[in-house]
């Protein structure tokens, strides 16, 4: 690992988003929820636009629409008015209130304001959950995980007498709707009753419908969140979030055993996930998934020569970078730079743990990077591939190398929400994509243009 990562004062083309965006997305994975930003109007609108361009789905994020007067005297009155208007128009089951840099800095006490609201306002009120998301602190991933933790902390209980041995919580982090659909299928195949929090599989990848839904259907139900404390175990993907995660809170409050796994990307990480499910369910890994694993190994062998030794730069959120790097390492691609805008301090350690015996040497690993830094390092690294979200396109285009589009956002292609990253099936899709991108590059660079591989 390089001892001298670039260290500029300014940020150019950031490789991260701001905290409240993550919170808004997490709240979107709860049934009947409306995300609400306590701040000025622009934050909500910018985030909606950014999210729509990836998911191609409506996402209504309400705002306190604060003005100068509120910035001086406090935004409490507008927060309450906004909550009332959202309640009236959307009839939500839950409003997830996230703060912004403005309201954090002027010092609005949202918890107190919500308590006041509860006392002052008569009649039916949605459940309110609040999370502090000052955008000068962390990235959208901290916002996402903190919102999940806040939901768990406020709403999860342990009901009745005991643990349901068949019930498992999965806290997958920020993965795609396709990933969540896959996780549901896998859990069902193990006969587990699984609560996935949050679940954006329908809310952010909805069907065509006859009538417009004010709040898109789907999402983790409040009832399911309510009895997460009765689960036999929690499975939490990712290692770079804060210690006080949703899974940790469930363990602390209700003694639900928490299992932190890396995002199951590639064979090894998927094996860990499937083995854990097998252990928790007391069932062998179903034949369907064993077969998918078998086909995956078969394809690794079939395709290995097209990609061996290709040098890749991997970037994005820290946990997906760890997952992707592990996958690339096991198929013979050499990650040479792993970069994230996040700063958990754990990235290098997690990548080393996931790849140590697979890579002849560890890649450069840097946190707090932007695309200017990545581009600068790329010049001497001469990568063959970029692996990450669509914001790497200008660099891939400059270097004339393929961009493997994964994660969020995908703003320049259709179907970002349908990319499957997890499990044997996700690894299969990513593997085929990587191999075919390398073949296509060779084919288009060749004056002959072979029509067989």
């Amino acid at each position: 690992m390089s001892k001298n990562p670039p260290n500029y004062i300014s940020t150019t083309n950031a490789c991260k988003l701001c905290t409240p965006l993550g919170a808004a997305l997490a709240f979107k994975g709860i049934e009947g929820a409306v995300p609400y930003l306590h701040g000025s109007q622009g934050c909500a609108t910018y985030m909606r636009r950014y999210i729509i361009s990836h998911f191609n789905e409506p996402i209504d994020i309400a705002s306190s629409s604060l003005s100068e007067k509120h910035a001086v005297y406090g935004g409490g009155a507008n927060l309450k008015l906004g909550l009332m208007n959202v309640t009236k128009k959307y009839r939500p089951r839950l409003i997830g209130v996230a703060t912004t840099c403005l309201t954090e800095t002027i010092g609005d006490d949202v918890k107190m304001l919500l308590d006041q609201y509860d006392k002052e306002v008569e009649g039916e009120k949605p459940v309110m959950v609040q999370v502090a998301t000052p955008s000068y602190n962390g990235t959208h991933m901290e916002g996402f995980h903190d919102a999940v933790a806040s939901v768990v902390n406020s709403l999860a209980h342990r009901e009745g007498s005991g643990t349901n041995a068949k019930q498992v919580n999965i806290l997958p982090g920020f993965v795609s709707p396709a990933d969540i659909r896959y996780l549901k299928e896998v859990a069902e195949d193990f006969s587990l009753e699984c609560t996935i929090l949050p679940d954006i599989s329908d809310t952010m990848d909805g069907q065509a419908a006859k009538h417009y839904e004010k709040i898109q259907s789907g999402g983790t139900t409040l009832a399911a969140i309510g009895n997460m404390g009765n689960s036999a175990a929690s499975i939490e993907f990712g290692h770079t979030m804060a210690d006080q995660s949703g899974g940790a809170i469930l363990a602390e409050k209700f003694n639900v055993n928490n299992n932190r796994l890396p995002q199951p990307m590639g064979i090894r990480a998927s094996d860990r996930f499937f083995n854990l499910l097998s252990e928790l369910s007391g069932q062998a890994i179903p034949e369907k998934h064993r077969a998918e694993r078998g086909r995956l190994v078969d394809s690794y062998v079939d395709g290995h020569k097209y990609i061996y030794g290709k040098k890749a730069i991997v970037y994005g959120e820290e946990d997906i970078v760890v997952g992707l790097t592990a996958l690339l390492a096991e198929i013979g691609v050499m990650p040479i730079l792993c970069a994230s805008g996040g700063k958990s301090g754990k990235l290098a350690e997690m990548i080393a743990a996931a790849t140590e015996d697979l890579l002849p040497e560890q890649p450069q690993i840097h946190e707090g990077m932007d695309f200017y830094d990545i581009s600068e390092l790329a010049e001497s690294l001469e990568p063959d591939l970029l692996v990450g979200h669509s914001k790497g396109y200008p660099l891939a285009s400059k270097l004339s190398i393929p961009l493997i589009r994964v994660g969020f956002p995908i703003h320049d292609r259709m179907g970002g929400q349908r990319i499957l990253h997890l499990g044997y099936r996700g690894a299969q899709q990513l593997f085929d994509l990587v191999v075919n991108s390398c073949i296509a590059k060779k084919q288009s660079d060749s004056p002959i243009g072979y029509s067989y591989m």
């Binding site: 004062i9 300014s10 940020t11 150019t12 083309n13 950031a14 991260k16 988003l17 701001c18 409240p20 701040g39 000025s40 109007q41 622009g42 934050c43 609108t45 910018y46 985030m47 909606r48 729509i52 361009s53 191609n56 789905e57 409506p58 996402i59 209504d60 309400a62 705002s63 306190s64 629409s65 604060l66 003005s67 100068e68 509120h70 910035a71 927060l79 008015l81 906004g82 909550l83 009332m84 208007n85 959202v86 128009k89 959307y90 840099c101 403005l102 800095t105 000052p134 955008s135 000068y136 602190n137 909805g206 065509a208 419908a209 006859k210 417009y212 839904e213 004010k214 805008g341 200008p394």
Partner: protein, 445 residues
């Protein structure tokens, strides 16, 4: 649909009551406005100036959500397509961000050698009280390029206030350049942002009639051109909401008259050229303009026939940023034989809405600063075939099984000028006539 009480006065139905409509007010909390903020207003106006450094002073969000966000093309430098931020952290919020800003400016100016730097303040800067004027003054002195603060704290008004802040920033540049050699028949183009290369088409029209364009404000814009913009004889202002303030400043300080135009639709495009030609009172120029319009129409009108036949009687809804554009769109749809049943904008003025009420058919919904649920109910009520808006409006249309035409900042199709009218017809046609609507549940039998 039941409206929020506070919203009722921002909606009018043509012919159903005497005209009253409230606008230019802060968005209602919790109403999910389609608007952004002051910062957004400033950022969109200045964004296309391609040889300037645009540094957003604040936490990362404001910069990252506006990275390469507009389809504003440049014929040369592309500095505007990069997203620069001071990425303020908690420690900067506590101790102030001035030092970080100063150092970031020096670093970026040295790296990119821009012709000027715009420094945008965001919400938090307005609260922690960084003195942007002082920082900019210091950096300007040491780097010898204009370094201009843009007072765009998100909470200090709505998007219109951001337009004003952008105009104030540009006003500092104007009057500082050499104006020698500028033709008496010269204009500045204000309020065109060169989406998909539109300003190149417009400039070509003006050149053909013998008018010199001094500065593009701001599409494919350059600092040096803006600095000598006061040498032009006339300001031609489109998207008047965003740049009319600047035209007023130039009128006051340099006696440069201005006129409002629109380049969308055949009628308004032709009118824009005639108005400019008439302003200069040059018979040759007027003759050249007539010739140009004739040539362009001879080329365009036969091609439009096909689309007119197919689209006749289809219903359109419009929701755009500024209401001046909405006028042109109403006329463009009329030319295609289509009926406009709803028209609205984020930042229109009372006068503009009043005029819209005058030219639209009875029953047309006119709306200021609307939101997804209102839009949904209007589209359903009016059985709309095509909705014209921006990215945030697109999923609303699609979920309702309604066609969509992007007429906002990030479109990739040139919709201005005579050529643009044809592209617009094609764009509308390709959405309205697509077979996919046969499968949506609204249309299934």
């Amino acid at each position: 649909m039941e409206l929020l009480k506070e919203r009722e006065e921002q909606i009018h139905r043509t012919g159903e009551q005497p005209f009253t409509l409230t606008c230019n007010k802060d968005s209602l909390a919790g109403a999910v406005s389609q608007r952004a903020c002051v910062f957004c207003g400033s950022r969109v106006v200045l964004y296309p100036i391609a040889d300037a450094l645009h540094l957003v002073h604040g936490p990362i969000g404001c910069a990252v959500y506006t990275w390469d966000i507009r389809g504003a093309l440049s014929s040369g430098p592309e500095l505007h397509r990069l997203s620069f931020s001071t990425d303020l952290q908690e420690i900067d919020v506590i101790f102030g961000g001035e030092k970080k800003l100063t150092n970031a400016l020096f670093e970026l100016i040295e790296r990119h050698s821009p012709k000027a730097a715009f420094v945008y303040s965001t919400c938090i800067v307005g609260i922690i009280g960084d003195d942007l004027e002082a920082v900019c003054r210091q950096v300007e002195k040491e780097t010898d390029i204009p370094v201009i603060p843009v007072k765009s704290e998100g909470f200090k008004g709505n998007k219109r206030a951001g337009y004003t802040a952008a105009c104030n920033a540009m006003a500092r540049l104007i009057g500082t350049g050499d104006t020698s050699g500028i033709s008496p028949y010269s204009i500045n183009i204000l309020g065109d942002f060169n989406l998909a290369g539109e300003i190149w088409m417009i400039r070509e029209y003006f050149e053909r009639i013998g008018v010199e364009v001094v500065a593009n404000i701001t599409g494919d814009g350059r600092i040096a051109d803006i600095q000598r913009a006061h040498g032009a004889a006339l300001n031609v202002v489109q998207c008047s909401g965003s740049t009319m303030d600047l035209a007023k400043v130039m009128e006051d300080e340099y006696d440069i008259p201005s006129m409002r135009v629109s380049y969308f639709g055949v009628e308004d495009m032709a009118q824009a050229l005639y108005d400019v030609a008439e302003h200069f009172k040059d018979p040759d120029m007027l003759a050249r303009t007539q010739e140009l319009v004739k040539e362009e129409l001879q080329e365009l009108l036969p091609k439009l026939e096909f689309y007119k036949k197919a689209l006749k009687g289809k219903k359109a809804a419009i929701y755009v940023g500024g209401s001046f554009k909405a006028f042109s769109l109403v006329k463009a749809f009329r030319l295609l034989g289509m009926d406009v049943v709803m028209v609205g904008s984020q930042t229109g003025t009372e006068q503009e809405y009043r005029e819209l009420a005058e030219i639209t058919d009875p029953g047309t919904i006119i709306v200021d600063d609307t939101n997804p649920l209102e839009l949904t109910s209007f589209l359903e009520e009016k059985s709309v075939d095509i909705f014209v808006g921006g990215v945030k409006e697109r999923p609303i249309a699609y979920k309702l099984g309604v066609g969509f035409c992007d007429h906002n900042h990030e479109r990739k199709e040139a919709l201005a000028g005579f050529t643009g009218m044809l592209n617009f017809a094609e764009e509308v046609y390709s959405s309205v006539m697509s077979p996919v609507w046969r499968f949506t549940y609204q249309n299934a039998e």
